[in-house]
Symmetry: C3
Subunit: 495 residues, 3 copies
């Protein structure tokens, strides 16, 4: 693991990058958006075997092997019915045999650095070392210092947000919150150093995020049943639109009380709408009726999602929850993966995504209201300089989320800065957030982002476009202050 990795090659620029990186390398991690299972931390049981820990849940890895004809089954991915067919060691071997596929990808950077920095595994991955690495990891995972809470602390995570169904009981978060210092590791002793490692300043805080898609997207299987369940959970009458909106507001309040500071919305498009309340109510009624028949009319479903984005913005103005929108993926593109492994098995493919026209109804209502914080993400990079940076550089409510998903990578992050900074500046972005599903890769992802941002800033300094002291401040802001501020994590606890 070279200390200069990811820095520009030009020696003078590299030297500047090194200095900037020294400013941010030990800052705590702010992770206000991610997909770690809160039960993992509430239970604090030992992590699973290496294949189940690193390979099976990571779409970046299983997709790449599938693209070369390796069935997810062989990697330990559970079938639709939950059955796992490959033995862990076999799955790991299959993965290691195909390790060369990841040359030039961020997955390689993340996994290599996670293994080396966190698990102390420094031998190169490959068919010849698969068993030895498997054994080494297995031994390490069994140690108390590698329990989830110990790692959470050791990673220097200050805040970790999970992403949760609007129907979630929030019980795991309650368990974590019930005992003071619950997120602190019960497994004592000084944690082994994590080089490079941020130092935890306070006990980590684990909070939920309200992701209402199951009840706001009529195209989701079981939408009407989930809406009914939402009514039961909240005591609101979801038979009417007003009751449905009330139920959503109550659930948001539950989440807010559990520590949430944000909502998250994954929609096929960024389309928003601002319907007359009576029209919206009629649309809702029609969708409920059609759900009981043969499913929603596609235009109705799209219009309802659009309306719900604007309703969510309105609620955010009221309750202060930061609103995140991640549009632009065509879900479950592969019929084979969907049929065999169910939804969310990695077969999502981006589509062209427009923002300027799509967001106008919402922004007409709330874009100029600084109480709203609307964080936008994209899978269509052509929108960065054309639509997203201009919108973030204009509207008080609009913030630009970091390079997301396929673009959470050195080249992707570099393009993101090059395409957005000149129009939106740094201060209409939320800095770096990681969106991680793979818990042990969180610190590494932040490290990659910090290095890439320092490399970008170093180029600005080398080209005399920014003085070094200001670049250092920007580096710290991107790594720590901006995400903390944008997600209202600097505003004290909830009532």
């Amino acid at each position: 693991m070279d200390q200069d990795r990811l820095f520009p090659a030009d020696p003078a620029t590299r030297a500047i990058a090194r200095e900037l990186y020294a400013e941010v390398r030990d800052l705590p991690l702010i992770s206000p958006h991610g997909h770690v299972d809160p039960a993992l931390l509430a239970d604090d049981a030992p992590l699973p075997d290496p294949a189940a820990l690193f390979v099976a849940p990571d779409h970046y890895l299983t997709r790449m092997l599938y693209s070369q004809g390796v069935s997810p089954r062989r990697l330990g991915v559970p079938d639709r019915d939950g059955r796992v067919q490959a033995a862990p060691r076999e799955a790991w071997r299959t993965f290691c045999e195909h390790w060369y596929l990841f040359r030039g990808t961020p997955s390689r950077l993340w996994l290599e650095q996670s293994l080396a920095a966190i698990f102390g595994v420094t031998q190169p991955l490959g068919p010849g070392t698969a068993d030895a690495v498997y054994d080494e990891l297995t031994a390490r995972i069994a140690e108390p210092a590698y329990r989830p809470r110990a790692l959470l602390r050791r990673f220097g995570i200050e805040v970790l947000a999970t992403t949760d169904s609007p129907l979630d009981s929030l019980e795991h978060h309650a368990r974590l919150a019930a005992a003071p210092g619950a997120t602190d590791s019960p497994h004592g002793g000084p944690p082994p150093p994590v080089p490079p490692g941020p130092r935890p300043p306070v006990p980590p805080r684990v909070i939920p995020t309200f992701r209402p898609d199951p009840v706001t997207d009529p195209d989701r299987p079981g939408w009407a049943a989930d809406v009914a369940r939402l009514g039961e959970l909240t005591g609101a009458d979801t038979g009417s639109y007003a009751g449905y909106l009330d139920a959503l507001a109550r659930r948001r309040e539950d989440f807010r009380r559990a520590g949430a500071t944000a909502t998250d919305h994954g929609t096929p498009t960024a389309q928003t709408a601002d319907l007359d309340p009576a029209d919206a109510a009629r649309l809702y009624g029609r969708l409920l009726r059609d759900a009981a028949r043969d499913g929603p009319d596609p235009d109705d479903a799209e219009l309802f999602r659009a309306q719900m984005l604007t309703e969510s913005a309105r609620m955010s103005v009221d309750d202060g929850l930061v609103m995140q929108v991640h549009p632009g993926a065509l879900r479950d593109h592969s019929r084979y993966l969907y049929a065999n492994f169910g939804p969310d098995s990695g077969g999502d493919i981006p589509v062209p995504t427009g923002y300027t026209r799509a967001l106008r109804p919402l922004l007409d209502r709330f874009g100029d209201d600084p109480r709203l914080r609307l964080v936008l993400f994209t899978l269509d990079e052509s929108a960065y300089s054309r639509e997203l940076a201009p919108l973030a550089g204009l509207y008080p409510a609009v913030y630009l989320g970091p390079a997301w998903w396929f673009y959470d990578s050195p080249e992707g992050m570099r393009r993101y800065r090059e395409l957005t900074t000149e129009t939106a500046g740094f201060y209409n972005t939320v800095g770096f957030t990681d969106d991680t599903r793979a818990f042990p890769s969180i610190p590494v992802r932040h490290d990659v982002a910090r290095r890439v941002d320092c490399g970008f800033l170093a180029r600005l300094v080398a080209e005399h476009r920014l003085p070094a002291d200001e670049a250092a401040e920007v580096a710290r802001d991107l790594a720590y202050r901006l995400p903390k501020h944008a997600y209202r994590l600097d505003e004290g606890g909830t009532s």
Copy 2:
């Protein structure tokens, strides 16, 4: 202000860039497209206070502060009714407090370099220096050497084109033209040096540009009234389509006689049409009728704009005016800004913009006619390599305008060259033109472009893709010869 700013960091490449830049740094400025008010030069009154000079009229600045919740009112932007609410010094202070927002943006480069090179203000901007800089600028502005015409001369501007309404009286241009040497500064004495500074070879020439949008876009408020006024101005009967076209041709001739060499067209899309004359006449009649009722049908309005682009091309073939098309902005996106500060208050956001299909009707008629010069701009960078460079690299009539608006920036210009040069070469572009509204930033914008182009060329030389002597010729062509030639500024005066 480091002498190497904006040059690539690699020492060998930087050395080449320095040599190339030495070739172009002192060339006169050709500015055939811009938004300076001709009255400023005709009156030659002292420039206004620093806030009114630098901040209030600059959308790049007011947008960025608005995106962070600072009302344009606090920056001295006039309300819809023309009232300015902030005192100049207060506006300037507010601006300086937020100066950090411009880190990494071209605005920072332009303003810092303008202050240093033109006004001799070298202390860094910020809250702590706001008053001192304000006072220093105020003192400087009061000096005769800082009157508009003195600056025009000192900037080394050879030609400056303004952008004018088709209903403009052209009186300011007449005043400038009436007195020989009128654009020369009446405030004698040797002008202080502008480092780096082009040297004026001849008295500057200030010419108008014909921008017919108010009378060619039926969606503009007051379109029909403006058309009627056009008829009055020209003595043509705009009640008929033939008379309307005749009125346009006559006004173009007025502009041409006043020195204009170009027209400019800002359209929502690049759509063109080539209607049968009878259909076009019917469309025009319908639009005039609907204007008197409840406004145009949107499809009619779009079709009319499309037809008018083709009519303009036809007129350009006749009268030789270079035709510029700037499509792709959704105007007045922010309802708040529009309601409070009126149209053109900075709330324009780009949309995806197609050229290949959209321009075909026009190009079918005139694309192969070298008498037409059609200069295309874009706010959708994805069109550079996909559509614009291929079109410019094919049609005799098509030229590529420089990186525009949000892309008039170091990264934007670099991408422009990288995305267009391999397909269109350098010689189907018009070189650099500045599109400046902020008069004192003109020389700085040219300097940034010259530096960035020299950096790009230096890379070609360093990678042995172009010999150094040819790169030097290209640098000079981009900076001076190409814009002068493309805009027919090397063809002698008008009759």
Copy 3:
């Protein structure tokens, strides 16, 4: 010709690029996709005059000069009726006068390097040297060592695929295959060295490619007649859809027996369809009927092309032919060029091209079948990171073709790697293939690609993202092993 051309300027990175390049510079050339006329090699007559050899057939060159007002006629391009109007030497002079237009373009790199490395012409091109270079080339062309087969051998080409009509007699390929060693040069003596030059390991293999567009695109002039001719050639009854499909399958088999390993499909869009067989048969019947009347309904034609892509995929699953799809060009955009020089005279302009939705019907059927190899190309770079890399990184059947046409260039290739590698890796691409029409430029195009890929890999090494030994393996894979494998050229001969 500097030995470091196209390598990154940073000395450390350049040193790495040099070492990587040393690994690949002498590897044989795999050219599984191109447009060389097989008669050229079967006849092995001397190459034509310099203008007819280098200028007239090269759209990159004739377009650029046309864009500056130089008629293709003056360059020796034949009129629609086949008449050539410019004398060869005059055409060459006209070309050389405009040589400066190619500064910064790949055409310049290709031609300069072809002239120097293959023809030994090292004086710079230009008006002053036109005649001398013409004479030198003429003398060289007359030598036996410059006959096509001698060059084929000398270029180190291991496999060269041509692109052929489905109605082609394949006679030239038969002549080449009939005599053992037919592709070996009959003009003895050691060939002069080609620096840098791959060394031919085996006699070159020349094979056809099945390009069915004339019979699968109902918008092509003469479609119905071509379909009838297809029936005659195969003895299948193309009056019915089943017979038509059978005829296609039989012709594919003819091509396969003649050595073909691939098909090629040039379509306006990437749209695919998976119609019910009865619907497809009805569509086919309607198109045949309309062809005899006033031409196809546009939607019918698009749907039929879409259906034929899926049928082709189905046939590829059966017969193993690799399927290439090149969508996204609006053909014959310039009315003038089409009217004067006929179809395919260089006036094609790209349009935005979607893949995610368009390919779904085909991929639903065959995307997960590893027997299919579907190689995708694009003229819309915004699709690289948004759609193409995600698709290639997911589906076993999908491969990414190299940077194509306008993007077969240093900047285009660099962007291609930067935009696709992090998502699709290197191993879902087919490495480099050249798509060359200009026979003498083949080795140079491979050399440019090898240099650019080594430069990209060198950056990964310099940034510690890939160890040097793995980068060297990737460089060899991209240059040689991947194209050979993807196109099944490593699977032995055909029966």
